[in-house]
Symmetry: C2
Subunit: 452 residues, 2 copies
C-alpha cells in the first residue's frame, strides 16, 4: 500500500524524535500505531535509529512489533539486537511466532538465545522447534485457554479475566479432562449468554474437531476454511491437547501455499523478492532454465532424426512452433486443473479415473475443433490440401495426448506422494514439445509421398 | 477429505431415517453434526430425500446448512425448495451469505423471493445486492454489533447477551457517534478485563482502521492478513458504519483469488470443476486455445518469411522449439514474479522501475549462462562452430528480451488498470515464440554466408 503525505510526515517526525532521543514523544506516537504499522516503520529505519529504538521500548512492546515483521526481514534485527534483549523479546512473543523467528536464525544463535532465556519459556519453545515444517505442530501456539469440564461458567469468566492478556485467543475455550484429553469445546459467545451457574460440561459441544500435530498445514487451512473456525485444537495421538492454530496463522499459510503453487506453475522454485538483486534472482531461476535447456536439446535431437524429411519439405519447419506451442498450452491448462483439483481435495479415488476420462474427452473435442480450423487455414494459405490435413491431424493427436499428459503427470506425482504442484508449467510444456514433434514428424515422414 | 467407514455408516443410517420419515431419529443425528458436515451430507442425497429433509428442519436449521454449501451447488437447491420456504431460509441467513446465494439465482427468482420475504430482511438484502462484485460492499454483512461511546461496560455486556445469537461476530464491537459515524473499536477481550463501570469511550481505541465499501476484496484480504484482524468495519465516504467483513469470508476470498491467479497463469479463464463434463470443460478452455492458435499462425507465417533461409540450411529448423521454448519458459518465470509482486503490493512506484532493471539483469545473466552452454553443446554435437554461436547468441538475446517482456506486460496491464494476472502464461509464451523466431532467423539470415 502506498503512503499518504500525512503518514510520511508522521513517520519523519517519529524518526526525528528517535534520533534526537526525545523518548517520550517517540513512544507516544509510536505506540499509538497498530503493531503492523509499527513493524513497517521499524523495518524502514536505518540501523542507527533502530539501535536507539530498542532502548526506548520494553521487551513486550518490541515483541508486538517483531510479531508483525515479515520473516524474510527478521534475521538482521535479531542479529543487531543485544542477545539478552533478543531473548527477552522472544520470551514475550506468542510461542508460534517465536519459533518461526528462531527457524530463520543460525543454529548457534538459537542455542545461545535459548540458554539466556528463562527455563519455562525456553522449554515451551524447544518443544515446538521439534515439529516438522509445514505441519500443524509447527504453526500451533501453546498460549491457549483450556478449562476443566466440572467448572462453573462464573468461575471460567473469572479465570478468563486473568488469562485474557496472555492467551492467543479467548474466544474459544477447549475443555479437557483430568488427563488433559480434549473432550469438548465452548465459545466465549456461549459463556456470555449462559447462566453463570451452569457447569461447563452442560454447555460444551462434545463434537469437537481437532487435528493431529503431524497434519499438513494445507489440510488444516482447508478444514478451518470449510468449518468457519477462528481456531482449531491440535492433539497428539492419544488426544491430549497440545496447542491451537488460530485463523490469523491460517491466512499466512494460505498465502504461502498459493504463492508456492503459483511459482511452481511458472517454473520458479523459490519466489523472487522485490529486494533481490539480479544475481540472486538469476540464481533462483537458472536451475529450471538449465534443466529445460537440456530437455530442449532432446527435442532438437529428435528433430535432427528427421533432417532428411526437413530437407525435402522445408515448409514443414514453419509449423513446428505452432504445434509445439499448442501442445504446451493445452498441457498447462490440464495440469493447472488437475493440480488445483488434487490440492483442494476435490477428487476422491473414483474421481481420479473420471478426471482422466474427462481430460481425454476434453482433449479430443479441443483437438477436433483446432485441427479442423488449422486444416482449413493451412489449405487456403499454402494451397496444399495434404499439408493442411497433416498439420490438422498433428494438432488433433497432439492436443489429445498433451491434455492427457498434463493431467496424468500431477496425478502420478500425487500417487508417489510428491506435491503435484511441483509438476511445473514449463516442465510439462517441454515434455509436450517432445511429444508433439514426434507426432508431427512421424506423420510427415510416413506420408511423405503426398507432400512432395 | 475421504470418509471413514464409520462416517459412511452414520450417513447411510441418516438417509434411512430420512427416507422412512423417522423424523426424530433423523433430527437427532443430523443436528449433532457441524453445519459443514450437514451441508456435505445434504448435497450428496438424492433429490427425493432432500425434499423430505426440507420438511423436517426449521428455516433456521436449514439456513445453517445452506450457509455451508458451495455456491456452485446452490442453484438446484433453491429451485427445488418451496419458494416460501426458500424466502424464510434466506431471511434467517447472514445477509452476506444470502446475497451470495441470490447472485447465483435467475433474476426473476430473486425478485419473487424478495417479494415473499418480510420487508426488513428484504430491504437489508436489496441494499447489499447493489454493491459491485468483488468489492468490500459485496462481501460485508450487516449483522454487526455497534455501541454508543457513552455506554458503560456493564450495559454493553447486557446488550451483548441479547444480541449474541444474531450477530456475525461479537468479539469486536464498533463504537459509533449519534450520526452512526465510526469513531472507535473495542474487543470483547477488553470488555471482560475492564471494570464494569468504565465508559466505552475510555476503553476504545480511536485508531480504528476501516475500508470503504468500494475497496477491492483482495486489498481488504491483504489488510486483514497484515493486521491480524478477525473482522474489519466497512464505511461509506462519510465514514458511516455500513457493515463488517469477517475473517471467515476473507479465507474464501483468498482461496478464490489464488485459484483465479493460478488458472489465468495456465490459460484457463474459468476453472473446471470436478463435476464438469468434457464438453463444458472444452468450452471453458477452447477460447484461449483458439486465440493461441491464431497467434501460432502468426509465428508460422513469420517463419514462412524465412523459407529461403530454411531451404538452404535445413538444420536451422532443429533448434526452433528449443529457442522458442526457452523464450516461453523465461517469460513465464518473469511474468509470475511480476504478477505476484504487483498483486501483493510489494512494489511502489520506484519499485517498478527497479523491477524492470532487475529483470533486464536477470535476463542477461541467464542469457549468458544458457547461451555459452548451448554454444558449446551445439559445437560438439553438430561440429559447426558458427551454428553454435548463432544458436547461443539467439538464446542470449531471446532470454534478455523474453524476460523483459514477461515483466513488462503485467506492469503495463496494471498501469492500464487491468488485473495483471490476466496476462496468462500461454499468452506470454506465444508472444515470446514470435520474438524468439524473429531473433533466430533474423540472425541466421544476416550471417548466412558463415553457415552454408
Amino acid at each position: 500500500m502506498e503512503k499518504s503525505n500525512t503518514e510520511q510526515l508522521y513517520e519523519e517526525e517519529m524518526q526525528m524524535f528517535a534520533d534526537d532521543e526525545q523518548i517520550d514523544s517517540f513512544r507516544e506516537q509510536f505506540l499509538d500505531m497498530h503493531p503492523y504499522d509499527q513493524a513497517s516503520f521499524f523495518i524502514e529505519m536505518p540501523k542507527e535509529t533502530r539501535l536507539k529504538i530498542y532502548t526506548y521500548l520494553s521487551p513486550e512492546e518490541l515483541a508486538d512489533v517483531m510479531e508483525h515483521i515479515e520473516l524474510d526481514d527478521i534475521r538482521p534485527l535479531f542479529t543487531e539486537m543485544d542477545p539478552r534483549l533478543a531473548a527477552m523479546v522472544l520470551a514475550k512473543m506468542a510461542t508460534d511466532d517465536a519459533v518461526d523467528i528462531l527457524n530463520e536464525l543460525e543454529k548457534d544463535v538459537v542455542v545461545s538465545l535459548l540458554t539466556i532465556m528463562d527455563d519455562k519459556n525456553a522449554s515451551e519453545i524447544k518443544e515446538l522447534l521439534h515439529y516438522e515444517e509445514k505441519t500443524a505442530g509447527s504453526i500451533m501456539t501453546t498460549e491457549f485457554i483450556s478449562v476443566y469440564e466440572n467448572k462453573m461458567v462464573k468461575e471460567v469468566m473469572e479465570f478468563l479475566k486473568a488469562e485474557a492478556p496472555e492467551a492467543e485467543t479467548i474466544y474459544y475455550l477447549y475443555v479437557v479432562d483430568e488427563d488433559k484429553h480434549l473432550v469438548g469445546v465452548t465459545s466465549l459467545r456461549d459463556l456470555i449468554i449462559a447462566d453463570p451457574d451452569t457447569q461447563v460440561s452442560e454447555l460444551m459441544s462434545e463434537n469437537v474437531l481437532s487435528v493431529s500435530v503431524a497434519k499438513d498445514q494445507e489440510e488444516v487451512a482447508q478444514m478451518i476454511r470449510d468449518y468457519d473456525f477462528l481456531a482449531m485444537p491440535v492433539v497428539d495421538f492419544q488426544n491430549h491437547l497440545l496447542g491451537i492454530i488460530t485463523v490469523d496463522d491460517i491466512l499466512d499459510v494460505m498465502e504461502e501455499e498459493a504463492s508456492e503453487d503459483y511459482s511452481l506453475l511458472a517454473g520458479v522454485s523459490d519466489m523472487d523478492r522485490p529486494k533481490d538483486s539480479a544475481f540472486i534472482s538469476a540464481k533462483k531461476r537458472l536451475p529450471w532454465l538449465v534443466i529445460l535447456l537440456f530437455l530442449g536439446i532432446l527435442t532438437a535431437s529428435l528433430i535432427g532424426q528427421f533432417e532428411q524429411t526437413l530437407e525435402q519439405v522445408a515448409v514443414l519447419a514453419i509449423f513446428i512452433p505452432l504445434i509445439a506451442g499448442m501442445a504446451g498450452n493445452t498441457g498447462t491448462q490440464a495440469l493447472a486443473v488437475a493440480v488445483r483439483g488434487i490440492t483442494t481435495g476435490d477428487y476422491g479415488k473414483q474421481g481420479k479415473m473420471k478426471l482422466i476420462a474427462r481430460e481425454a474427452g476434453t482433449g479430443l473435442i479441443n483437438g477436433i475443433v483446432c485441427g479442423v480450423l488449422i486444416t482449413g487455414i493451412v489449405y487456403f494459405w499454402q494451397d496444399d490440401f495434404f499439408l493442411g490435413v497433416l498439420v490438422g491431424l498433428s494438432i488433433m493427436a497432439t492436443l489429445v495426448i498433451a491434455t492427457l499428459a498434463g493431467a496424468l503427470v500431477p496425478l502420478l506425482m500425487d500417487r508417489l506422494n510428491i506435491d503435484p504442484a511441483v509438476a511445473s508449467g514449463p516442465f510439462i510444456t517441454t515434455i509436450n514439445d517432445l511429444i508433439s514433434i514426434l507426432i508431427y514428424f512421424g506423420l510427415a515422414t510416413t506420408f511423405m509421398q503426398y507432400l512432395v
